[in-house]
């Protein structure tokens, strides 16, 4: 009797163990794990911008092959002496994305903001900087890196690089709030919701989800607006001076590529091998 019980317990234990580990094994062995785990809504959201940018309205399938890599060129020359324009871009971005306005620097959330040269480009010398460099702020946002460290470190694939657009996106519903991505990001682009953000949203935009506390968020290159054929909010906000150029870095005929061919540009911390998709003319 006792022996049988022991045998039963052994078998039961092994079975339970196998059962528990099975999902992990299956997940690990199924190759398109990322694609399969996306909800239909998200998948559609990501496919759409690819369509919008694959010049002749290619399907998502072809866009993936041609490898769209969305990027941004910030022509700072057009923003010098115009902090109002930078604030306008920030305001547009934060309004569209329901970014809460939290005064306390410790708890603040920001997707797009501006800071002095020495902070934005600490790897570049700011010793004897020019008057223009010293007196102006520079725009800061997520670099949507081609080799994003945040994606590498995320333990749940809550942040991922969308292969169809090159956008580094977030799944707010999967994020467990470990903030490892904030450690991995060498650009300080990510914010964590230390408090419930909803009471701090000034003007609620019903077209974009609000977040709950305990998750990380950042610039998403306006993936949701691209899906509707619109430009990113910041690009649109300062259209009057054309400070932001947005487009496919892999398409030699795109406006951004032509502008990149024209002028010398710099990137933030290029030595780290993250391959940022945001370029600056300073």
């Amino acid at each position: 009797m006792d022996k049988q019980r022991r045998k039963f317990l052994k078998i039961a234990g092994v079975t339970a163990l196998a059962g528990l580990s099975a999902p992990a094994v299956i997940k690990l062995t199924s190759s398109p794990a990322l694609a399969s785990s996306e909800t239909p809504g998200e998948a559609a959201g990501h496919a759409a911008p690819a369509e919008a940018h694959g010049a002749e309205g290619h399907g998502a399938e072809q866009a993936a092959h041609t490898g769209v890599r969305l990027g941004m060129l910030i022509d700072m020359r057009k923003l010098y002496g115009r902090p109002d324009l930078m604030d306008k871009a920030t305001a547009a971005c934060h309004k569209v994305h329901n970014v809460p306005h939290i005064e306390n620097k410790k708890n603040e959330i920001k997707w797009l903001w501006h800071a002095p040269f020495e902070n934005v480009f600490p790897e570049h010398s700011s010793y004897h900087e020019s008057k223009v460099t010293a007196e102006n702020d520079f725009m800061v946002l997520c670099n949507h890196c081609d080799e994003p460290p945040c994606v590498r470190v995320c333990p749940t694939k809550a942040t991922f690089r969308d292969e169809k657009t090159g956008i580094v996106a977030m799944d707010f519903h999967r994020c467990i709030g470990c903030r490892f991505c904030m450690m991995g990001c060498p650009y300080g682009a990510r914010s964590f919701n230390w408090m419930d953000p909803r009471p701090y949203i000034k003007e609620y935009n019903a077209d974009f989800p609000t977040r709950m506390r305990g998750v990380v968020e950042k610039c998403n290159f306006c993936g949701e607006r691209l899906a509707l054929g619109q430009e990113p909010a910041c690009v649109e906000a300062v259209k009057e001076v054309g400070a932001f150029v947005f487009g496919d870095l892999n398409d030699p005929n795109s406006e951004i590529r032509q502008r990149l061919d024209q002028d010398h540009t710099i990137q933030r911390k290029p030595s780290l091998g993250t391959k940022p998709s945001v370029f600056y003319i300073v």
Partner: protein, 391 residues
Amino acid sequence: MIEKALKGNSNYWMWLAFLTAFIAVGAICYLRQFFLGMYLTGMGRDLSWGLYISQFTFLVGVAAGGLMLVLPYYVHNYKVFGRITILGEFLAIGALVMCLMFIMADIGQPLRGLNMILHPTPNSMLFWDMCVLLGYLGLNVICGWVILTAERKQVKPPKWVYIFVYISIPFAVSIHTVTAMLYCGLPGRHFWLSAITAPRFLASAFAAGPALIVIACLIMKRVAHFDAGKEAINKLTTIIMYAALINAFFVCMEFFVGYYSNIPGHMHSLQYLFFGLEHNGHVYNNLVPFMWSSVLLCFGGLGLFAYMKIANVYSDLMVGVGCAAVFIALWLDKGLGFVMGGLVVNPLEEIVEYYPTANEIGITLGIWATGFLLVTVLYKIAVGVEHEVEA
């Protein structure tokens, strides 16, 4: 065997009640954090890891430190550690439970914790850390319990358990290596981006873990008539000395690389930790007293041990003081300095200092108390079994 933990003298119960008080406060603090949000901590946008993660890191080391008893006993057949090996295994259980609690306290959406398993991500070091921590916990529970049960029945432990014992040896190394990999693979975090991080973690772990075990042995000698034996204690202090010296050597190497290369990013954190970092006319030096205390305690403890060995004297008090000094020194070094020093300069090269809040400290103390309670109960069982066998 659990019944052994239910019988004790009044001191035992007083101690448990004392710990429970901290646990209760910690639980209330945690409920506040759970329902109100993590803004109740001192962490923020720039310093987004704090006390929880640093305690986690330190305690992984304490858990791995048990290796310094298991390895000599099982691999080198060093019989002197026979009585205390179980203490290393049980300490690892307590430390790992604390680690897991600190992780749960640290994440913003604890109810989604299972996403780690539902969406396993092998490129994340956190995934592997979870694997090795849970694995090491399981191994220690199995090994500790089976071997203690066998001892109680006065039979040899079953052969199969040795497989787990031997697997647990590389696992002990792996838990702290993978924990170091959480830090040392991040671009742009200069202080952590050092190949010596993992070896340094291991060295300090192999000093801190045994130091805590020695202190526990000395306490149990007084209160529970459990004598680990002078030879075992002496050998442990030797191990602690070597490990702490290697750790100090590694820290010196960090200093050399930083200051000789003269690369600002590599010097900033060390400068902040030991001398104060000047930025825009303000000197940031919160942790300087802690770090120099760490240095003094470490070398004080080592000096005491060295004196004991050279003069050939032995007293429980000296051993206890030495171990406590080394343990506190390493806690200051890894449980405070490593994480906070590494984060003080944010990616935009702004300097933000960290002040843990009362609520955060309450949770931290509560988790430490939980670990101490668990270790007390497990040690009570282990000692109870020893007494039963001797009787």
